[in-house]
Subunit: 219 residues, 2 copies
Protein backbone atom coordinates (compact mmCIF):
# COMPACT_ATOMS: atom_id res chain seq x y z
CA UNK A 1 0.00 0.00 0.00
CA UNK A 2 1.06 3.57 -0.70
CA UNK A 3 -0.26 6.60 1.18
CA UNK A 4 -0.23 10.04 -0.43
CA UNK A 5 0.15 12.21 2.64
CA UNK A 6 1.26 15.58 3.94
CA UNK A 7 2.88 15.66 7.37
CA UNK A 8 0.52 18.25 8.86
CA UNK A 9 -2.71 17.25 7.06
CA UNK A 10 -5.06 16.06 9.78
CA UNK A 11 -6.96 13.81 7.37
CA UNK A 12 -3.67 12.11 6.36
CA UNK A 13 -2.74 11.83 10.02
CA UNK A 14 -5.95 9.90 10.79
CA UNK A 15 -5.11 7.31 8.14
CA UNK A 16 -1.49 7.06 9.36
CA UNK A 17 -2.74 6.28 12.88
CA UNK A 18 -5.03 3.50 11.65
CA UNK A 19 -2.30 1.99 9.45
CA UNK A 20 0.17 2.05 12.36
CA UNK A 21 -2.36 0.75 14.90
CA UNK A 22 -3.26 -2.17 12.63
CA UNK A 23 0.43 -2.74 11.82
CA UNK A 24 -0.11 -2.39 8.06
CA UNK A 25 3.10 -1.58 6.19
CA UNK A 26 2.91 1.14 3.58
CA UNK A 27 5.05 3.38 1.42
CA UNK A 28 4.83 7.08 2.29
CA UNK A 29 4.35 9.37 -0.71
CA UNK A 30 4.73 13.00 0.40
CA UNK A 31 2.54 15.60 -1.34
CA UNK A 32 3.55 19.12 -0.41
CA UNK A 33 0.20 20.92 -0.12
CA UNK A 34 1.69 23.96 1.63
CA UNK A 35 0.71 27.24 -0.09
CA UNK A 36 4.29 27.76 -1.30
CA UNK A 37 4.32 24.41 -3.15
CA UNK A 38 0.70 23.36 -3.88
CA UNK A 39 1.88 20.06 -5.35
CA UNK A 40 -1.73 18.85 -5.32
CA UNK A 41 -2.48 21.30 -8.13
CA UNK A 42 0.08 19.82 -10.50
CA UNK A 43 -1.74 18.40 -13.55
CA UNK A 44 -0.61 14.83 -12.83
CA UNK A 45 -2.22 14.84 -9.37
CA UNK A 46 -5.74 15.10 -10.85
CA UNK A 47 -5.34 11.40 -11.75
CA UNK A 48 -4.66 10.59 -8.11
CA UNK A 49 -7.47 12.69 -6.61
CA UNK A 50 -9.84 14.86 -8.62
CA UNK A 51 -10.59 16.89 -5.47
CA UNK A 52 -6.82 17.52 -5.19
CA UNK A 53 -6.60 16.54 -1.56
CA UNK A 54 -4.63 14.16 0.60
CA UNK A 55 -4.85 11.43 1.82
CA UNK A 56 -5.12 8.86 -0.95
CA UNK A 57 -4.49 5.17 -0.27
CA UNK A 58 -3.31 3.19 -3.29
CA UNK A 59 -2.73 -0.50 -3.80
CA UNK A 60 -2.41 -3.08 -6.57
CA UNK A 61 -4.22 -6.38 -6.60
CA UNK A 62 -3.76 -8.82 -9.50
CA UNK A 63 -2.30 -6.03 -11.59
CA UNK A 64 -5.20 -3.67 -10.98
CA UNK A 65 -4.44 -0.32 -9.38
CA UNK A 66 -6.96 0.89 -6.81
CA UNK A 67 -7.02 4.37 -5.27
CA UNK A 68 -9.28 5.31 -2.41
CA UNK A 69 -9.80 8.87 -1.16
CA UNK A 70 -11.62 10.43 1.82
CA UNK A 71 -10.23 9.64 5.25
CA UNK A 72 -13.53 8.24 6.54
CA UNK A 73 -13.92 5.89 3.56
CA UNK A 74 -10.27 4.81 3.92
CA UNK A 75 -10.38 4.20 7.68
CA UNK A 76 -13.73 2.35 7.44
CA UNK A 77 -12.25 0.20 4.66
CA UNK A 78 -9.12 -0.57 6.68
CA UNK A 79 -11.35 -1.56 9.59
CA UNK A 80 -13.36 -3.85 7.29
CA UNK A 81 -10.37 -5.63 5.76
CA UNK A 82 -8.15 -5.60 8.89
CA UNK A 83 -10.72 -5.88 11.70
CA UNK A 84 -8.13 -6.57 14.41
CA UNK A 85 -7.19 -4.64 16.50
CA UNK A 86 -10.68 -3.22 16.47
CA UNK A 87 -11.43 0.50 16.14
CA UNK A 88 -15.24 0.37 15.89
CA UNK A 89 -17.21 -1.04 18.83
CA UNK A 90 -19.62 -3.95 18.27
CA UNK A 91 -22.62 -2.43 19.99
CA UNK A 92 -24.64 -0.45 17.37
CA UNK A 93 -25.37 2.66 19.44
CA UNK A 94 -21.78 2.90 20.65
CA UNK A 95 -20.63 2.54 17.05
CA UNK A 96 -23.03 5.37 16.16
CA UNK A 97 -21.49 7.53 18.89
CA UNK A 98 -18.03 6.92 17.43
CA UNK A 99 -19.22 7.89 13.95
CA UNK A 100 -21.06 10.91 15.37
CA UNK A 101 -17.93 12.32 17.03
CA UNK A 102 -15.83 11.47 14.02
CA UNK A 103 -18.22 13.36 11.71
CA UNK A 104 -18.44 16.38 14.02
CA UNK A 105 -14.71 16.62 13.35
CA UNK A 106 -14.65 15.38 9.75
CA UNK A 107 -17.51 17.43 8.33
CA UNK A 108 -18.28 19.93 11.10
CA UNK A 109 -14.82 21.37 11.67
CA UNK A 110 -12.01 20.17 9.40
CA UNK A 111 -13.38 21.17 5.95
CA UNK A 112 -14.01 24.72 7.17
CA UNK A 113 -10.38 25.32 8.09
CA UNK A 114 -8.40 23.35 5.57
CA UNK A 115 -5.72 24.97 3.45
CA UNK A 116 -7.96 25.50 0.39
CA UNK A 117 -10.63 27.33 2.38
CA UNK A 118 -8.15 29.45 4.33
CA UNK A 119 -6.51 30.48 1.05
CA UNK A 120 -9.93 31.62 -0.24
CA UNK A 121 -10.67 33.58 2.93
CA UNK A 122 -7.21 35.18 2.74
CA UNK A 123 -7.89 36.27 -0.84
CA UNK A 124 -11.29 37.68 0.10
CA UNK A 125 -10.34 39.43 3.33
CA UNK A 126 -6.64 39.29 4.17
CA UNK A 127 -4.52 37.10 6.42
CA UNK A 128 -5.88 38.09 9.83
CA UNK A 129 -9.44 37.18 8.96
CA UNK A 130 -8.33 33.68 7.86
CA UNK A 131 -6.77 32.98 11.27
CA UNK A 132 -9.81 34.41 13.07
CA UNK A 133 -12.05 32.25 10.90
CA UNK A 134 -10.05 29.10 11.58
CA UNK A 135 -9.99 29.77 15.32
CA UNK A 136 -13.74 30.45 15.38
CA UNK A 137 -14.54 27.25 13.51
CA UNK A 138 -12.32 25.23 15.85
CA UNK A 139 -13.76 26.82 19.00
CA UNK A 140 -17.33 26.16 17.91
CA UNK A 141 -16.45 22.56 17.09
CA UNK A 142 -14.55 22.04 20.35
CA UNK A 143 -17.69 22.99 22.34
CA UNK A 144 -19.59 20.15 20.67
CA UNK A 145 -16.65 17.76 20.99
CA UNK A 146 -16.11 18.49 24.70
CA UNK A 147 -19.79 17.97 25.35
CA UNK A 148 -19.72 14.69 23.43
CA UNK A 149 -16.73 13.21 25.26
CA UNK A 150 -18.08 14.47 28.60
CA UNK A 151 -21.32 12.58 27.93
CA UNK A 152 -20.15 9.43 26.16
CA UNK A 153 -16.43 9.25 26.87
CA UNK A 154 -14.56 7.35 29.53
CA UNK A 155 -10.93 6.47 29.43
CA UNK A 156 -11.13 7.24 25.71
CA UNK A 157 -13.39 9.42 23.53
CA UNK A 158 -16.27 6.94 23.44
CA UNK A 159 -16.29 4.62 26.45
CA UNK A 160 -13.16 3.00 27.84
CA UNK A 161 -11.77 1.42 24.68
CA UNK A 162 -9.72 3.18 22.04
CA UNK A 163 -11.78 3.76 18.89
CA UNK A 164 -11.87 5.61 15.59
CA UNK A 165 -13.18 8.60 17.58
CA UNK A 166 -9.75 8.96 19.25
CA UNK A 167 -8.08 8.64 15.84
CA UNK A 168 -10.00 11.73 14.71
CA UNK A 169 -9.81 13.58 18.05
CA UNK A 170 -6.02 13.78 18.37
CA UNK A 171 -5.38 15.67 15.08
CA UNK A 172 -8.39 17.89 15.83
CA UNK A 173 -6.83 19.09 19.11
CA UNK A 174 -3.54 19.77 17.32
CA UNK A 175 -5.39 21.95 14.78
CA UNK A 176 -7.33 23.79 17.46
CA UNK A 177 -4.10 24.56 19.32
CA UNK A 178 -2.38 25.61 16.10
CA UNK A 179 -5.09 28.21 15.44
CA UNK A 180 -4.88 29.64 18.94
CA UNK A 181 -7.89 28.03 20.64
CA UNK A 182 -7.57 28.07 24.44
CA UNK A 183 -7.66 24.33 25.14
CA UNK A 184 -7.89 24.73 28.92
CA UNK A 185 -11.63 25.20 28.28
CA UNK A 186 -11.84 21.63 27.01
CA UNK A 187 -10.19 19.53 29.73
CA UNK A 188 -11.88 16.17 29.01
CA UNK A 189 -10.90 16.33 25.34
CA UNK A 190 -7.32 17.29 26.23
CA UNK A 191 -7.05 14.50 28.79
CA UNK A 192 -8.35 11.81 26.42
CA UNK A 193 -6.21 12.99 23.50
CA UNK A 194 -3.13 13.03 25.72
CA UNK A 195 -3.77 9.41 26.76
CA UNK A 196 -4.24 8.28 23.15
CA UNK A 197 -1.22 10.25 21.97
CA UNK A 198 1.09 8.13 24.12
CA UNK A 199 0.23 4.93 22.27
CA UNK A 200 3.00 3.79 19.88
CA UNK A 201 0.74 4.02 16.78
CA UNK A 202 -0.09 7.62 17.61
CA UNK A 203 3.56 8.45 18.23
CA UNK A 204 4.56 6.94 14.87
CA UNK A 205 1.79 8.80 13.00
CA UNK A 206 2.51 12.24 14.50
CA UNK A 207 3.26 14.99 11.93
CA UNK A 208 6.72 15.67 13.39
CA UNK A 209 7.70 12.02 12.87
CA UNK A 210 6.98 12.08 9.12
CA UNK A 211 9.74 12.15 6.50
CA UNK A 212 8.33 15.35 4.93
CA UNK A 213 8.18 17.28 8.23
CA UNK A 214 10.54 20.26 8.27
CA UNK A 215 13.55 19.80 10.55
CA UNK A 216 12.07 22.45 12.80
CA UNK A 217 8.31 22.66 12.32
CA UNK A 218 6.54 25.99 12.34
CA UNK A 219 3.53 25.81 14.65
CA UNK B 1 -38.61 8.20 16.29
CA UNK B 2 -38.59 11.95 15.85
CA UNK B 3 -36.56 13.79 13.23
CA UNK B 4 -35.52 17.41 13.74
CA UNK B 5 -35.43 18.60 10.16
CA UNK B 6 -35.60 21.60 7.86
CA UNK B 7 -37.29 21.12 4.50
CA UNK B 8 -34.37 22.39 2.41
CA UNK B 9 -31.47 21.09 4.57
CA UNK B 10 -29.68 18.54 2.42
CA UNK B 11 -28.38 16.67 5.49
CA UNK B 12 -31.97 16.34 6.80
CA UNK B 13 -33.11 15.26 3.36
CA UNK B 14 -30.60 12.37 3.32
CA UNK B 15 -32.01 11.02 6.59
CA UNK B 16 -35.60 11.45 5.34
CA UNK B 17 -34.78 9.35 2.26
CA UNK B 18 -33.31 6.53 4.36
CA UNK B 19 -36.25 6.55 6.79
CA UNK B 20 -38.74 6.46 3.90
CA UNK B 21 -36.79 3.81 1.96
CA UNK B 22 -36.65 1.56 5.02
CA UNK B 23 -40.31 2.31 5.81
CA UNK B 24 -39.53 3.59 9.32
CA UNK B 25 -42.30 5.79 10.72
CA UNK B 26 -41.26 8.99 12.43
CA UNK B 27 -42.56 12.27 13.72
CA UNK B 28 -41.34 15.33 11.81
CA UNK B 29 -40.12 18.19 14.03
CA UNK B 30 -39.51 21.28 11.87
CA UNK B 31 -36.60 23.53 12.85
CA UNK B 32 -36.61 26.77 10.87
CA UNK B 33 -32.91 27.38 10.21
CA UNK B 34 -33.56 30.07 7.56
CA UNK B 35 -31.63 33.29 8.28
CA UNK B 36 -34.86 35.14 9.13
CA UNK B 37 -35.75 32.63 11.89
CA UNK B 38 -32.54 30.87 13.05
CA UNK B 39 -34.53 28.62 15.38
CA UNK B 40 -31.42 26.49 15.86
CA UNK B 41 -29.89 29.34 17.86
CA UNK B 42 -32.66 29.41 20.47
CA UNK B 43 -31.19 28.50 23.86
CA UNK B 44 -33.31 25.34 24.18
CA UNK B 45 -31.91 23.87 20.95
CA UNK B 46 -28.41 23.58 22.45
CA UNK B 47 -29.77 20.58 24.37
CA UNK B 48 -30.81 18.94 21.10
CA UNK B 49 -27.60 19.63 19.18
CA UNK B 50 -24.62 21.55 20.54
CA UNK B 51 -23.47 22.25 16.98
CA UNK B 52 -26.94 23.79 16.35
CA UNK B 53 -27.55 21.89 13.18
CA UNK B 54 -30.22 19.64 11.74
CA UNK B 55 -30.83 16.72 11.39
CA UNK B 56 -31.16 15.11 14.79
CA UNK B 57 -32.84 11.72 15.22
CA UNK B 58 -34.40 11.15 18.64
CA UNK B 59 -35.98 8.09 20.20
CA UNK B 60 -36.88 6.64 23.59
CA UNK B 61 -36.08 3.13 24.69
CA UNK B 62 -37.08 1.90 28.14
CA UNK B 63 -37.60 5.48 29.25
CA UNK B 64 -34.18 6.62 28.10
CA UNK B 65 -34.04 9.43 25.54
CA UNK B 66 -31.39 9.06 22.84
CA UNK B 67 -30.44 11.76 20.35
CA UNK B 68 -28.13 11.14 17.43
CA UNK B 69 -26.68 13.88 15.21
CA UNK B 70 -24.61 13.91 11.99
CA UNK B 71 -26.33 12.57 8.88
CA UNK B 72 -23.62 9.98 8.20
CA UNK B 73 -23.78 8.60 11.76
CA UNK B 74 -27.59 8.53 11.59
CA UNK B 75 -27.81 6.84 8.18
CA UNK B 76 -25.11 4.28 9.10
CA UNK B 77 -27.02 3.54 12.33
CA UNK B 78 -30.32 3.13 10.49
CA UNK B 79 -28.58 0.73 8.09
CA UNK B 80 -27.21 -1.24 11.06
CA UNK B 81 -30.51 -1.57 12.93
CA UNK B 82 -32.77 -1.84 9.82
CA UNK B 83 -30.50 -3.64 7.34
CA UNK B 84 -33.28 -4.36 4.84
CA UNK B 85 -33.75 -2.94 2.24
CA UNK B 86 -29.99 -2.61 2.01
CA UNK B 87 -28.21 0.68 1.24
CA UNK B 88 -24.59 -0.45 1.69
CA UNK B 89 -23.22 -3.16 -0.62
CA UNK B 90 -21.72 -6.33 0.90
CA UNK B 91 -18.48 -6.28 -1.08
CA UNK B 92 -15.88 -4.26 0.93
CA UNK B 93 -14.39 -2.25 -1.95
CA UNK B 94 -17.83 -1.39 -3.33
CA UNK B 95 -18.86 -0.33 0.16
CA UNK B 96 -15.73 1.84 0.29
CA UNK B 97 -16.71 3.46 -3.03
CA UNK B 98 -20.15 4.29 -1.60
CA UNK B 99 -18.59 5.87 1.47
CA UNK B 100 -16.03 7.69 -0.68
CA UNK B 101 -18.70 9.37 -2.83
CA UNK B 102 -20.83 10.06 0.20
CA UNK B 103 -17.90 11.82 1.96
CA UNK B 104 -16.93 13.82 -1.13
CA UNK B 105 -20.42 15.30 -0.73
CA UNK B 106 -20.68 15.24 3.08
CA UNK B 107 -17.30 16.72 3.95
CA UNK B 108 -15.96 17.96 0.59
CA UNK B 109 -18.91 20.08 -0.51
CA UNK B 110 -21.83 20.45 1.87
CA UNK B 111 -20.09 22.00 4.94
CA UNK B 112 -18.54 24.71 2.74
CA UNK B 113 -21.89 25.99 1.53
CA UNK B 114 -24.23 25.49 4.43
CA UNK B 115 -26.26 28.36 5.87
CA UNK B 116 -23.83 29.13 8.70
CA UNK B 117 -20.83 29.47 6.40
CA UNK B 118 -22.69 31.51 3.79
CA UNK B 119 -23.84 33.88 6.54
CA UNK B 120 -20.19 34.35 7.59
CA UNK B 121 -19.08 34.99 4.00
CA UNK B 122 -21.93 37.49 3.58
CA UNK B 123 -20.82 39.35 6.70
CA UNK B 124 -17.20 39.40 5.53
CA UNK B 125 -17.77 40.31 1.90
CA UNK B 126 -21.40 40.96 0.97
CA UNK B 127 -24.14 38.89 -0.63
CA UNK B 128 -22.72 38.39 -4.10
CA UNK B 129 -19.51 36.83 -2.83
CA UNK B 130 -21.49 34.27 -0.82
CA UNK B 131 -23.36 33.06 -3.92
CA UNK B 132 -20.10 32.98 -5.93
CA UNK B 133 -18.46 31.04 -3.13
CA UNK B 134 -21.30 28.50 -2.93
CA UNK B 135 -21.33 28.03 -6.71
CA UNK B 136 -17.55 27.58 -6.79
CA UNK B 137 -17.60 24.99 -4.02
CA UNK B 138 -20.39 23.07 -5.76
CA UNK B 139 -18.71 23.19 -9.17
CA UNK B 140 -15.42 21.91 -7.77
CA UNK B 141 -17.24 19.12 -5.97
CA UNK B 142 -19.34 18.20 -9.01
CA UNK B 143 -16.16 17.62 -11.05
CA UNK B 144 -15.06 14.97 -8.53
CA UNK B 145 -18.57 13.52 -8.26
CA UNK B 146 -19.04 13.25 -12.03
CA UNK B 147 -15.70 11.54 -12.34
CA UNK B 148 -16.60 9.13 -9.54
CA UNK B 149 -19.97 8.09 -10.99
CA UNK B 150 -18.46 7.86 -14.49
CA UNK B 151 -15.84 5.43 -13.14
CA UNK B 152 -17.78 3.41 -10.57
CA UNK B 153 -21.43 4.08 -11.37
CA UNK B 154 -23.87 2.07 -13.42
CA UNK B 155 -27.60 2.32 -13.24
CA UNK B 156 -27.02 4.07 -9.90
CA UNK B 157 -24.15 6.08 -8.36
CA UNK B 158 -22.07 3.02 -7.42
CA UNK B 159 -22.85 0.02 -9.58
CA UNK B 160 -26.36 -1.00 -10.59
CA UNK B 161 -28.01 -1.12 -7.16
CA UNK B 162 -29.37 1.84 -5.25
CA UNK B 163 -27.09 2.73 -2.32
CA UNK B 164 -26.34 5.37 0.27
CA UNK B 165 -24.33 7.14 -2.46
CA UNK B 166 -27.58 7.95 -4.30
CA UNK B 167 -29.12 9.13 -1.03
CA UNK B 168 -26.36 11.75 -0.78
CA UNK B 169 -26.18 12.51 -4.53
CA UNK B 170 -29.77 13.66 -5.05
CA UNK B 171 -29.70 16.53 -2.49
CA UNK B 172 -26.22 17.48 -3.74
CA UNK B 173 -27.53 18.05 -7.29
CA UNK B 174 -30.41 20.12 -5.93
CA UNK B 175 -27.92 22.34 -4.06
CA UNK B 176 -25.66 22.69 -7.08
CA UNK B 177 -28.63 23.75 -9.23
CA UNK B 178 -29.83 26.15 -6.54
CA UNK B 179 -26.48 27.96 -6.57
CA UNK B 180 -26.44 28.27 -10.35
CA UNK B 181 -24.06 25.47 -11.35
CA UNK B 182 -24.52 24.46 -15.01
CA UNK B 183 -25.50 20.81 -14.56
CA UNK B 184 -25.34 20.00 -18.28
CA UNK B 185 -21.59 19.57 -17.65
CA UNK B 186 -22.34 16.61 -15.36
CA UNK B 187 -24.63 14.37 -17.42
CA UNK B 188 -23.93 11.04 -15.66
CA UNK B 189 -24.67 12.54 -12.23
CA UNK B 190 -27.87 14.16 -13.53
CA UNK B 191 -29.02 10.93 -15.17
CA UNK B 192 -28.43 8.82 -12.04
CA UNK B 193 -30.02 11.36 -9.70
CA UNK B 194 -33.07 11.61 -11.97
CA UNK B 195 -33.51 7.82 -11.86
CA UNK B 196 -33.23 7.71 -8.05
CA UNK B 197 -35.52 10.72 -7.65
CA UNK B 198 -38.43 8.81 -9.19
CA UNK B 199 -38.42 6.17 -6.42
CA UNK B 200 -41.28 6.62 -3.92
CA UNK B 201 -38.93 7.12 -0.94
CA UNK B 202 -37.13 9.93 -2.75
CA UNK B 203 -40.44 11.54 -3.76
CA UNK B 204 -41.68 11.42 -0.14
CA UNK B 205 -38.42 12.88 1.21
CA UNK B 206 -38.19 15.79 -1.27
CA UNK B 207 -38.04 19.27 0.32
CA UNK B 208 -41.23 20.44 -1.41
CA UNK B 209 -43.17 17.52 0.11
CA UNK B 210 -42.31 18.48 3.72
CA UNK B 211 -44.81 20.11 6.07
CA UNK B 212 -42.49 23.09 6.68
CA UNK B 213 -41.94 23.84 2.97
CA UNK B 214 -43.38 27.19 1.95
CA UNK B 215 -46.51 26.95 -0.22
CA UNK B 216 -44.44 28.25 -3.10
CA UNK B 217 -40.75 27.54 -2.55
CA UNK B 218 -38.12 30.06 -3.55
CA UNK B 219 -35.41 28.32 -5.55
Amino acid sequence: MRLYSYWRSSASWRVRIVLAYKKINYEYVPVNISPSHSAQHEPSYAEVNALRQVPVLEWSHRGELTRLTQSVAITEHLEAIHPSPQLLPDEPLKRARVRELLEIINSGVQPLQNTAVLNCIKKLTGDDMAIDWARGVNEHGMLAIERHVSTFGGRYAVGDALSMADVFLVPQLYNAARFGVDLTRFPRSVDIAARASELPAFVAAHPDAQQDAPAKAST
